[in-house]
């Protein structure tokens, strides 16, 4: 793959892209996530499955990137702030040609480079993340430098919803609005679950859209599993004068019916039977 990945899909800004191709890639990414979850160290299955469609929409139909030149200066930047969804990120990067799909089998192995939280050693990873509450600041810094330099790169960041409980997120939210960063799009993977249970029961985020609006952001709420909504929402840049947040309504464990909406799937090490059952449920639902 040599051209920017957004190009072959067409549709332009606001367009939908090739929905069937995106769905095929999303299924492959989810299969990789389950396989990684069945590997020697397990993975954060639930949040990877909730983020998979957002990642596939970004890399399959939105981001201007060069898989064979990951640090290309003209690229759009993507920061995975919820770094624990590394399985979904690595799978998406591999499916888009940043490194061989076969390498996914080395996830967490001492002879490989696929650390359970993303590291710079992995082609396509913009920042090493996984400590929550950093990504929006990093994206804000990138967006500010791009804007000052007059570059047209867009900057995207994907955060978990539980992550928004970190205070540093709101320091960055203030700064991005203050500096009118209309090249910055944040996405919140609003799966409504964190380790201890429902986000609203543990440390409520509602009214979430109002919070972002009060911080000076444009807000759009989308179905985080519907490419027909996600792709145009991501392709459309923020209106002039400020950053945009997409609150993506998602389901933790999405795609594997018996894992959906369950806090127990936050982290999982799937045994052979559990893996087969999950894979079969995933393929059945697809």
């Amino acid at each position: 793959m040599t051209a920017e990945v957004a190009e072959p899909l067409g549709g332009g800004i606001g367009g939908i892209g090739d929905l069937a191709a995106l769905r095929r890639t999303a299924l492959a990414v989810r299969e990789h996530v389950l396989a990684i979850g069945a590997g020697p160290i397990g993975t954060h299955v639930g949040g990877s499955l909730s983020a998979s469609d957002i990642l596939v929409a970004l890399y399959g139909a939105v981001l201007r990137v060069r898989p064979d030149e990951p640090r290309w200066a003209g690229r759009d930047h993507f920061v995975l702030s919820k770094g624990h969804a590394s399985a979904a990120l690595y799978a998406t990067l591999a499916e888009h040609g940043f490194f061989p799909v076969e390498e996914l089998a080395t996830y967490g192995r001492s002879d490989g480079r696929l650390m359970a939280h993303p590291t710079l050693a992995v082609p396509g990873v913009e920042f090493a993340t996984g400590s929550l509450g950093h990504g929006l600041s990093l994206a804000t810094g990138l967006a500010l430098t791009a804007k000052r330099a007059g570059r047209d790169n867009r900057v995207f960041v994907l955060m978990g919803d539980g992550e928004l409980q970190e205070g540093s997120v709101w320091e960055a939210a203030m700064a991005a609005a203050h500096y009118k960063l209309d090249n910055l799009t944040a996405v919140v993977d609003r799966n409504r679950l964190q380790i201890n249970g429902s986000t609203e029961d543990r440390m409520g985020l509602a009214p979430l859209a109002d919070k972002w609006r009060a911080f000076g952001w444009q807000v759009s709420e989308v179905d985080g599993h519907c490419f027909a909504e996600l792709v145009p929402a991501l392709r459309t840049p923020p209106a002039e004068g400020g950053p945009l947040v997409l609150i993506a309504d998602t389901v933790k464990g999405r795609g594997v019916r018996h894992l959906e909406h369950r806090k127990q799937n936050h982290f999982a090490k799937l045994g052979p039977d559990a893996y087969e059952r999950a894979l079969s449920a995933l393929r059945q639902a697809a």
Partner: protein
């Protein structure tokens, strides 16, 4: 208008006064660097003064993040990742505690060329008290992989240090104070500056005093004078670079003198004294006495010097420690 002769009372603007503190000197040096190189950026967190000195002249190279040190460090990392050279400005208390996770993950782990400039180090915030004291910053910063850690002894060394670290490939922690400090080096000399190379300020073979930072270096020099009156020749080393430590200079001191006294405006735990003791224990065991802030928070107001003396750091403490080393 009351008709009073206000004009006559105005100060006539003249050339700016030369800097008398390391933080003032740093600001002059930073502006000078940034004028020459647009990649040099100044990231401010409501420090007071940078907006007048830097933003007023180079607004496109200046960013104020407000009172938000965590965001300051992460944004500085992102700015550095694009090829720019940001100086992130805060106080040592906040760089090394509140924003430490961002320093660790976004700056040190990524090995990005951010220059963290931390004023008010040690007890230099003085009367403000332990909220703004930083007696732990060297201990935590020198344990961060990739980070170079430095602290200057006077105004001239600050300027040389800023120029020397501006283009280092990795991240830097520059530890500054707050208050006016007297010169260590004569004004008409250029002693040069090399990262990681200690400066011998006073030659001597009886005992070695190794100090870092403006007040500690002055304590060391003053103690050396007192020891000279007693007939002992003290070697005084300015260990301006805490990491990487000048191991050869320390080993030579351990071999050629009775032992070492370390002096710092920092806790006795984990700072310069800790670094020197660790190094010599492995490379050349020798008597080491640490003069530093006792392991306690500063209990009462006072000047910088008064508070340090009450916590164990003064020229007298250095003399006592040196005599103990000489008796071993």
């Amino acid at each position: 208008m009351s008709g009073r002769p206000t004009l006559a009372r105005r100060r006539v603007p003249g050339p700016p006064a030369p800097p008398d503190s390391d933080r003032a000197a740093y600001r002059v040096a930073l502006l000078e660097l940034a004028r020459r190189d647009p990649r040099i950026w100044c990231l401010d967190s409501d420090m007071g003064g940078l907006e007048k000195q830097f933003e007023a002249e180079l607004p496109d190279q200046y960013v104020d993040v407000g009172i938000a040190e965590a965001n300051l460090m992460s944004m500085a990392a992102a700015v550095a990742s694009t090829g720019l050279l940001p100086f992130a400005n805060t106080m040592a208390a906040f760089a090394s505690a509140r924003a430490l996770e961002q320093v660790k993950v976004d700056i040190a782990y990524h090995a990005l060329p951010v220059r963290i400039v931390a004023t008010h180090s040690g007890f230099s915030a003085a009367h403000i008290g332990p909220t703004h004291h930083a007696q732990q910053d060297l201990a935590v910063m020198r344990s961060m992989p990739n980070l170079t850690v430095l602290t200057p002894a006077d105004v001239g060394e600050t300027i040389r240090m800023v120029e020397a670290v501006a283009y280092l490939p990795g991240p830097v922690y520059l530890r500054l104070g707050r208050n006016p400090v007297p010169p260590v080096y004569p004004e008409d000399t250029d002693p040069g500056f090399t990262v990681g190379k200690a400066v011998e300020l006073r030659a001597g073979d009886d005992v070695t005093i190794a100090a870092a930072g403006a007040v500690p270096v002055h304590c060391a020099l003053s103690a050396a004078d007192t020891l000279a009156e007693r007939g002992f020749r003290a070697r005084v080393l300015n260990l301006h670079t805490i990491k990487p430590l000048d191991v050869p200079a320390l080993v030579a001191a351990a071999k050629q003198t009775a032992g070492l006294v370390t002096v710092e405006d920092h806790s006795v735990l984990g700072g310069l004294g800790g670094a020197v003791a660790e190094t010599l224990a492995e490379h050349c065991p020798a008597p080491v006495r640490r003069v530093g802030i006792a392991d306690a928070f500063c209990p009462r107001p006072g000047t910088h010097a008064e508070q340090l003396a009450a916590s164990g750091v003064s020229a007298e403490h250095v003399v006592t420690a040196a005599m103990a080393v000489l008796r071993t």
